[in-house]
Symmetry: D3
Subunit: 274 residues, 6 copies
């Protein structure tokens, strides 16, 4: 099926990041025009794309990026652990700028890329649903708790609808045992975006972003009304993972908590990052 | 598979209504004889059918209808919003008559057609299981809360077993976005009846009556012991629904609460109904 | 403390019943005028009282009783097990009449006398809060489930506020072991009415109506925002109860379920009642 | 796929029992060597097998059986209701011996065959997850509650990892209506063992041991992180079961509680067993 | 108030232990005769007492001790961590003997002294109610999980009623910071026994045995129907505790888990105990 | 009782605010020296006080303020709704500075003044415990969600202990109906600080900061282990409140949600604030 195109202009922030780059080709199925936005200008535009460079900590940049869009996929900002200041500028001030720009533009729906790292200190031997208490594993994770709270606040006060997706591991394919649980394929991500943008009433749900993995840590049954049915299953890559990592070390931080190695990163200072 | 016929005489009330009419042909697989009952005499009888006209508010009529039956599908009564008095006669007094008649007839199992309208004021952006608190959206919905309570009372006091099915939208096919969540196909309904009548011990479970829809609002995992596995999925009709309703209005009452348009109906008085 | 009188005209239905008679003298502290209403005319009026005879199944009677009142204590109707028809007339049709009359009169707050018999089949060795599932023990209890659902429906649809009080045993004093758990003193009842009528926003809470009994089956912590703090404790009457019933029989239905002897009453027919 | 063999030496206790005998041929896929252990010597060894006779109540026997093994499937002990003393020797003292031997041998992972009889007094019309309270239906069931607690204790104090499998009915195929809910196929059991032994971090989960039966009483979603996906479904044997038992008696203890007939067995004394 | 004496003959096991010795003088208020039983003969009998020496692992001894009693306080058995074998003999075989003896004697009510050590691995910074999962901290704690399960089994199968009291620290007074949370005064213990033996229907509740301590880890609201209202509060001893332990060490195992120092005891072997 | 002084040097941030000013005199009972810190120098020092001016957004200032302190009461930062930038500087960057300074100083315990505005969009007719989902009512409330998440992160990663107090209304006395539910007296606040600083193990609990008010919206039973027993009750001021506000308007935002008027404040921009 070709798919139903409801969106005229879709903004994709973080379009220059690796996940943004990977999903760009798939977004043509969602919208007539995709505004791709990042900190750098994007020059390899596809016919349906338009580039709007923006630094998230600039309210003006963000306002220009959002202008005229009727849906937003917000991948932009810091997506790994780092020093506090740039995380704050990108993920906290930057997110406030996104929501204010959306409010000034008729409140298009937002798909907010939150992260499993908001619940990263829950053990892997536990299955979470969307009532799990936040246990962030990093300053990055804390910034995403802020983001989820900001989304909720705009929903309660103004009716701004957001799909909060706590993304697991969105890569080409799973490459270690943890990703057998946390992997999210690109096409399952895009299917989620379609569901979030086309369901008549979205609300402000929290959903875990993983494919239909046999070993998932997460239970999305409470947001089933969205109708998102992921199609991929990391288990298909089991043989590859076992070849790469035949004997996973049970004491490796990768396996203790849901956030994996993030729980093992110290506080980074701006000097010692990079 | 032809199916295992355990039931000698099955009573179908509400047999002249649209749902009753639609499922009649499917009931031959469940029972040797189907007693079809409604407020009008039924003349287009199939070979396995027998007609017993009954007005639910007449204890005598109901007693005659139930006589000798070893299972009851109770669709009868008011099935939409209406003025209070006829709802009370049909759904409250009428149900009492059904349970008293069943008690006088060896307590055949009852499939009671309750309704999603008992929980109609829960938002659509919420997934319910059978512990959800009643939030009826209509006098009709209130009458079904009564019915569920009456069924429970007869179960606790006398051991009368009832399958309470909170029917979503039982029609040929889904025709709007809400029905993508709430649709129940006729054959899934009949499969439910089979499960309810053949499981060795039924109890008095509350089950949501929807097919295996991708977008279901409802979680039946707590009644899984019945073994009911619906086969249809409203999503198969997505293209048709989108063609009919390309841009559903998010402010339409149809989409705000689970009960859809019922939440928007005023109290009807007998004069202004019809 | 003398108490703050906010209510100009308070309607008391069921004023000729034993509970109504007992609380009448205490209501002067709540309202300037108390309209006392029952199926009989009341002639022993106190200076602040006014009598309005009404049969609950008469919409006109009820409309006249409610007229001009800014608060309602609805004790009226059948308050014990009985045949179905009169219960339906008084507790089902009668309650609908009350809510319609309230809607026509600016929606004064209602204190609805529900009953522990809506949860009467829960065992006594279990402590319930207001999320307990209904397990009515009698046709009377089923009628009260209807009443709670009707109250909820008018709250959701019209904003009508009701305090649903699942009354335990409202008598002079506890006289058996079950009442050591379920007793509600008259002054604690009236204190509840004051709380319900004066809290700025009431909502539609379900509260168990028992004094601060050591042995209470019920936990009202989820409606604590009302500020109701019952003062009496059935345990003060322990010696008296033990003198009357030194050796309670553990197999007596009085002690098995929360509803006590109601669980042991058969279905009553109109002929055999009285 | 051939399957990934991580285990060098796997101990199977209870290898002479009927379930042990049935799964022995399937264990070659899990381990290089399988140490088969029971109260009798096993002589029909397959090439990958080694026999170590052991009486569970002998600490020395058990130590010898466990020596050098890097995984344990503990089926040994009493697996039906019986007199207390031999159950205590086999399932209580015997299990302590297993855990002490494991502790002395580097704490290989243990798959502990617990039983649905630890929750046998829950009604069949109820779906349980792993937070259900223990309601054992037999001395045997009580001994398994002990076993689960011992496993948990060794996990908390020493980090010993155990997969607790509350086995339903592990037989060739389901032969009555209860087994349509509780059946566990041999290959699904072995797939569970593989999952438990290969997941990087196991923890000490409680899992219900049933195949993917339509009518399952049990919900394993809280241990989904293990990635166990049973393949069989008892419903495939429905026709056979119906032929054998066309009209199951609803008052048969087989159908009232999850533990089936175990709830109907009296306390057995050593004299009257056999 | 003198107290209502319902019990003719009350058995106290463990009467020679320190807790048994301390409560003996208080039991005259509960029963006409108190049978004091322990592994040694008791010679300092009070007028209302009778001595019956019994070794719990002897079914005959236990039968003689229980003979003719209409209530049992079972404190007997191992009450601290120890080697497995004697714990099994006293707390597992011994408890089975108690329940079989009770069954042979008309099933007098039993107050079973369970222990906080069944949930000893829950952190102190957590408040538990009686649905908390078992996390025993010792072989002793595991034996008490067995005991609770056995009590439950006899309740489900035979109707034997037991009050399961998870005793915290039953001593003269609290002497360290943990006991400010866990202390149970002797008189509060005896008040609990009175409640358990006199409530018309007891059931088989799990209750935490602590006085009304400001810092309690435990919430007994789910067993409130018993009417037990402890009177003492460990906080009254705060000054004494602070004088003895002015600076409690936060890394002391005493303070990490609810079980305190028990979590820090290794497995004891019979040779190294004593 | 004079009180036990365990703390040598206690830091109070926000000491120049109204709440800080009010509690300063009470802190002498908690610590030998109180370091009072705010954006202005404090000159009216009491003998046990020492002043350290600090701007929270300056890491150096904060490090100097925390230096040598063994406990921190962190009231500093924005405590009302305002424009985003200064809230971010004070409550987000400022809090990060506090936690980093604490980490550099041996991790003294922190009492973090969070706010009821993190759950401000829950209705007043609902009682919350500490598992309630965040529903912030203001940018201020969102900044406090960030703060709670940061506290949790430092607890999980480094073991930094924090008492998170969601303060209701900490003023001299309640002055409107909402404060009858939310009032926290100064002495109850200080008693909470004492409990948090002296309990052997604190953890990272979330506690609602209200006195023992009859009408509290909040249930702190899950943090009962702290032993905090507030002494005051807003109800003592009922007469005063009623005199000031005899007829509270039920449609006033003050009464709809727990956050009161905060839910009615628009997004403030820096230009239009002040």
């Amino acid at each position: 099926m070709k798919g139903h195109v409801l969106i005229k202009k879709l903004l994709l922030t973080g379009a220059t990041g690796s996940m943004g780059t990977a999903i760009r080709p798939l977004l043509a199925a969602l919208a007539e025009t995709v505004v791709v936005s990042g900190r750098r200008d994007i020059t390899d535009l596809m016919p349906h794309e338009e580039s709007r460079k923006a630094s998230l900590d600039s309210a003006d940049d963000v306002l220009r990026a959002v202008d005229g869009c009727d849906a937003i996929i917000h991948l932009g900002g810091y997506s790994v652990e780092g020093p506090f200041h740039p995380i704050m500028q990108a993920n906290i001030l930057g997110l406030y700028n996104i929501y204010e720009a959306a409010r000034a533009n008729g409140m298009p729906r937002i798909l907010f890329a939150s992260s499993n790292h908001v619940v990263g200190y829950h053990p892997q031997a536990e299955v979470l649903d969307n009532t799990a208490l936040p246990r962030p594993d990093s300053l990055y994770g804390v910034s995403k708790v802020f983001g989820e709270a900001l989304a909720r606040f705009y929903f309660e006060k103004f009716g701004q609808q957001t799909a909060i997706l706590r993304i697991g591991s969105c890569f080409d394919k799973p490459v270690d045992h943890r990703m057998l649980s946390t992997w999210l394929s690109y096409r399952d991500f895009v299917a989620f975006a379609r569901a979030a943008f086309t369901v008549p009433v979205l609300g402000c749900p929290i959903v875990y972003g993983a494919s239909a993995n046999d070993r998932s840590f997460w239970d999305n049954s409470k947001s089933n009304y969205l109708g998102w049915q992921p199609q991929d299953n990391a288990e298909a890559y089991l043989a590859e993972v076992l070849q790469a990592v035949p004997n996973p070390d049970p004491n490796d931080p990768l396996h203790l908590f849901q956030g994996g190695k993030f729980t093992d990163i110290p506080i980074l200072k701006e000097g010692n990052h990079d």
